[in-house]
Amino acid sequence: MDSSDAALVARVLHGEVNAYSALVSRYRDKYARYAVHMLGNREDAEEALQDAFTRAYRSLARCEDPERFGAWLFRILVNRCRTSGARRVRRGQTFVHDETALLNASEEHPAEQTMWREEIERALGELSADQREAFLLKYVEELGYDEMAEITGVGVSALKMRVMRACDRLRVLLREVHSA
């Protein structure tokens, strides 16, 4: 049976609701990475990811190019992460660093590696949300600037500036840690 995104979307739209679980399995880990790094908190990340999958299902008929369901879903997730981040700012929280976000690292790597990862997460948390988003999309998710512009609705020039400033800030933060 054809298991392409387009085929699964078509099956779901024809009432085969369980076909959606294949799309969830296909994209959950990949996009969980972005949400965890963007929000710094596994609980918020999973909530944003669940919201993204649910919203995508509700609006599936509006997915203009089902073959690119993943990219469409990712755009929804980026928006959900923005909303979640904004809600935290209103609550007086910014970047909630959570040890459980490091679960994989702590299980698979020695203590020094875990410390390094904690430093990375703390440095990411020091960035503004706009800079963190741009840095993660560019270097971790490896998107081109045109794709980033399409997803974020921000112009390419502004995105390049955000990425550059994020990199500059991260270099300073990481060197401060190791010179301390």
Partner: protein, 182 residues
């Protein structure tokens, strides 16, 4: 610990690109939400079908159509009986078209508002256990439309006023869309 002889950011990115695994219960939690949405939608479809059945009991003339396996219901808050009073002014109002056709393989809505489906402009309805529905913005004014079942059977809407036969020589229904006053 990073090897500072390499680019620090490169090492950072390498670390951040490690997979993040989600708990296995995540899929179940998502699918619970999804199935709830699906059930709500089905329920709305069933309600629509029940409403159609209730109408049939009040209007026995439709029983023959039901027996034939095709009953159409147009859910329109803007459907009026006196179309002549409504001029077209270009404002688009969302309209939901519903057709109960359990044996149909496909249903589309064609009308003067979508050029009668020419050039792939037909509104393709979604099937919810035999209740086919589709929503679309239709400009205010007086319109003619019909359901196209299985790509060939032209079915007028028995719940709407019948339009006079037009050049297509097919039965069609009258639709009047007014701007909402609410």
């Amino acid at each position: 610990m990073p090897d500072w002889g390499r680019n620090t950011l490169e090492l950072m990115v390498q670390e951040l690109q490690r997979p993040v695994r989600v708990d296995d219960s995540f899929d179940r939690r998502v699918m619970v939400r999804v199935r709830r949405i699906y059930a709500e939608r089905r329920h709305r479809g069933i309600v629509g079908w029940l409403a159609a059945a209730a109408n049939v009991t009040r209007r026995p003339a439709w029983a023959a159509a039901l027996a034939a396996g095709v009953v159409a219901v147009v859910s329109l808050s803007v459907l009026k009986k006196s179309p002549s009073t409504v001029p077209a002014n270009g404002q688009a109002i969302p309209v939901q078209f519903v057709l109960v056709a359990p044996d149909a393989h496909s249903v589309a809505v064609v009308g003067d508002f979508n050029n009668w489906g020419l050039n792939d402009t037909a509104l393709v309805a979604e099937n919810h256990d035999g209740v086919w529905s589709v929503s679309a913005p239709v400009h205010t004014g007086v319109h003619r439309y019909a359901f196209l079942v299985n790509g060939k059977q032209w079915v007028a809407d028995p719940t709407a006023p019948r339009a006079a036969d037009d050049d297509f020589g097919q039965p069609s229904s009258a639709l009047v869309v007014e701007a909402s006053t609410q």
